[in-house]
Symmetry: C2
Subunit: 371 residues, 2 copies
């Protein structure tokens, strides 16, 4: 368990390291002061994460002589809004931090996206350190520099690209994460297999239990995931091309999150992605691009793990298909009216289709819902 | 007057043109549709500018078949705040504009900074077209990609770098600008001479009347100014080095704006800059770096033009020097505690001094105020 892996995200002068291991939190102060001497930090976190891990972090920063100004926000997706953005920005400015100082995000993807956005706009860009504490944040949101908040028009519609200077992924902090949140993050891990790593997907089918319980398989799965995302991001930093592959399951997933009004009691991001990935495989089969067997295999594994895989798994029902489609069309991945979807030819064989007609999606969803 | 000059801002793949001439507004639709076929626009403007020029612009866009969605805000510096940012962002999203569509700013620096910031964060960056209508916006704020809003902690503390795709500077629209605003913008024109173009400053001393009345001298002075700013920006896009020279007069100027609570009845930006430039020359002389003669010559010219040049020219008085210094220290141009100032060895011989002790500034201000 003391094994540490370092993944470099190669982005020229914006390159940075992701340090993955069970001691990353306690070692944060030393690591940061060694790499960025003299730095001061605003530490942004949420109440839940603070209750478990803030003390360890502050203690570590203190011991390294790093001035830290914590700000504790309410947990949950609703925190990613304009009001909280203003609160973080105002906090950072009140602490009189300068351009070379940092905003440090201690939390899941919500805190990371929000704090990263603030770091990207205060003084037109400050340093940014990610200490992701959810599995989803460790394997996904803390890699790639996307930051942002939600709008009433949809998720993540407002934000900037702002790369972190350092990511510290402590694999042991995941032990305090609820099973539900761990599983939700796992959907993103499985995603990397489904995009273009069939052997990783097969490895996960065999090893997911060990990974869940925290063995070296956990560090390994997280490192493979970060490396997978880093290589796509490096090839396409601003999402003009291949980076879209990372949206496998996300066009459907985001629409489901919007349809459930971002209410995390009903659906969290990774659950939407799990259902979305199964839908993407079924839709591909429905379009005669892939086999239903592969869709079944994906569904079986995600179900084994305990993830929802069907629209009917969402409690409280969904709005009419027209409304779902509207959520899909307002999604960022729309290009001049045509719908862009990530489809697949089978497990690990995904591709970008940027001319999917809305009616096909509509018919597919209608049939799926009535079956 | 039908003369048109084009200044290219050379920033690699973010390069763009500034078109300067008396027909730019009426020709906007043709120019935009030729360069960006199929584009749609959110047009952000303020009530004053709208009353004079919105119809001409909309008519021109219409004639070129460009869908345009106007949003008219209150005029004034106070509009550069979080609330209006939210309003613009929401407007753009409500119009369902996509990443390849544009936010078009029709107005002065306030509208340009605010709309540009919105363009930089909606969908993590949309296209941005500047149609600057104040002299200050034409020669300064529309060149260089700085966008942002104010905070209670200071001016422009929140924003992003987001380059426009096109700038259309119509020199005839300046005829509806108040004399006071025209003079304020002129301070920035004079600034380019004072930074490193002594012969341009001398040309202005001879030709400023013609420039004010709108002859070909106006197009000429604006083109020289844009070219001056463009070349500094090209050398230093993200303000790590020489770009700081553009802050000549601004560290004092921003502090004065903050001290007068951004109340444009008392002080507008360019007026703060005019006083700030005289102070920068006097401070340089006080530090034995330059001659008092040069400071006198700068003051004389700015006074001829009708600009305020002294702290005592500001109506309603100023807070204590300690408070002024606090505003200076909170200014973005602070680096790890030391004060960065643009000082000068004489007209057209400015340089960056990044280790000016706060006490020196304090003593200088105290002496200046009591003299
Ligand atoms: N920027 C990107 O590239 C990117 C990529 C994917 C997802 N996202 C965003 O990430 C968000 C989802 O991330 P998330 O699932 O981490 O959400 P989250 O931040 O809300 O965390 C989920 C829940 O787990 C709690 N939690 C986090 N770490 C914990 C720990 N160690 N122990 C106990 N509880 C803990 C949080 O308090 C929260 O209640 C969404 O907003 C999504 O849009 C962003
Ligand atoms: N982004 C940058 O690089 C940069 C550089 C310099 C200044 N700025 C910002 O620019 C702002 C100041 O710009 P400004 O002086 O243009 O302010 P402004 O936008 O408030 O315009 C000044 C006034 O003139 C009016 N006006 C504008 N054009 C007019 C016209 N053609 N006819 C009649 N009235 C007109 C406006 O309604 C306003 O009342 C400040 O907020 C400053 O921070 C930004
Ligand atoms: Zn995701
Ligand atoms: Zn200025």
């Amino acid at each position: 368990m003391s094994e540490t892996q370092i993944v470099e995200v190669p982005l020229g002068e914006r390159s940075y390291d992701i340090i993955i291991g069970a001691q990353a939190l306690a070692g944060a102060g030393g690591e940061i002061s060694r790499r960025m001497p003299g730095i001061r930090c605003a530490v942004v976190t949420d109440e839940t994460v603070a209750s478990f891990h803030l003390e360890t972090l502050i203690h570590s920063l203190d011991a390294a002589g790093i001035e830290a100004h914590p700000l504790v926000l309410k947990p949950g997706e609703k925190t990613k809004d304009f009001d909280n953005l203003m609160t973080v920005v105002d906090h950072v400015l009140s602490c009189r931090l300068e351009r070379g100082d940092a905003v440090l995000a201690l939390g899941g993807g919500v805190i990371g996206d929000l704090a990263g956005f603030a770091a990207g706009i205060v003084r037109r860009g400050m340093r940014f350190i990610q200490v992701p504490t959810s599995l989803l944040a460790q394997v996904d949101s803390s890699v790639g520099g996307k930051t942002g908040i939600n709008s009433r028009h949809g998720k993540n519609l407002v934000g900037v690209f702002h790369q972190p200077d350092l990511v510290l992924a402590d694999t042991a902090v995941l032990d305090t994460l609820s099973d539900r949140e761990f599983r939700a993050g796992y959907a993103e891990v499985a995603k990397y297999g489904l995009i273009d790593k069939p052997e990783f997907f097969a490895w996960l089918e065999r090893n997911w239990r060990q990974m869940f319980s925290g063995g070296p398989e956990r560090v390994q799965a997280i490192a493979v995931s970060c490396r997978a995302k880093a290589s796509v991001v490096a090839a396409d930093e601003r999402e003009g091309g291949v980076r879209a592959l990372l949206n496998l399951g996300h066009t459907f997933g985001h629409a489901l999150e919007a349809a459930t009004e971002f209410d995390s009691r009903r659906l969290v991001h990774g659950e939407g992605v799990a259902i979305g990935m199964v839908l993407a495989h079924r839709f591909s089969a429905w379009l005669n691009l892939a086999s239903y067997d592969d869709a079944d295999r994906v569904e079986r594994h995600l179900k084994d793990v305990g993830l929802p895989t069907r629209l009917s798994d969402i409690e409280g029902g969904l709005p009419a298909t027209d409304i779902l489609l509207e959520h899909i069309a307002q999604d960022k991945k729309v290009k001049r009216g045509k719908l862009t979807f990530i489809l697949t030819r089978g497990i690990g064989q995904s591709f970008i289709a940027d001319d999917v007609p809305g009616e096909e999606v509509h018919r597919f969803l209608e049939e799926t819902r009535s079956s």
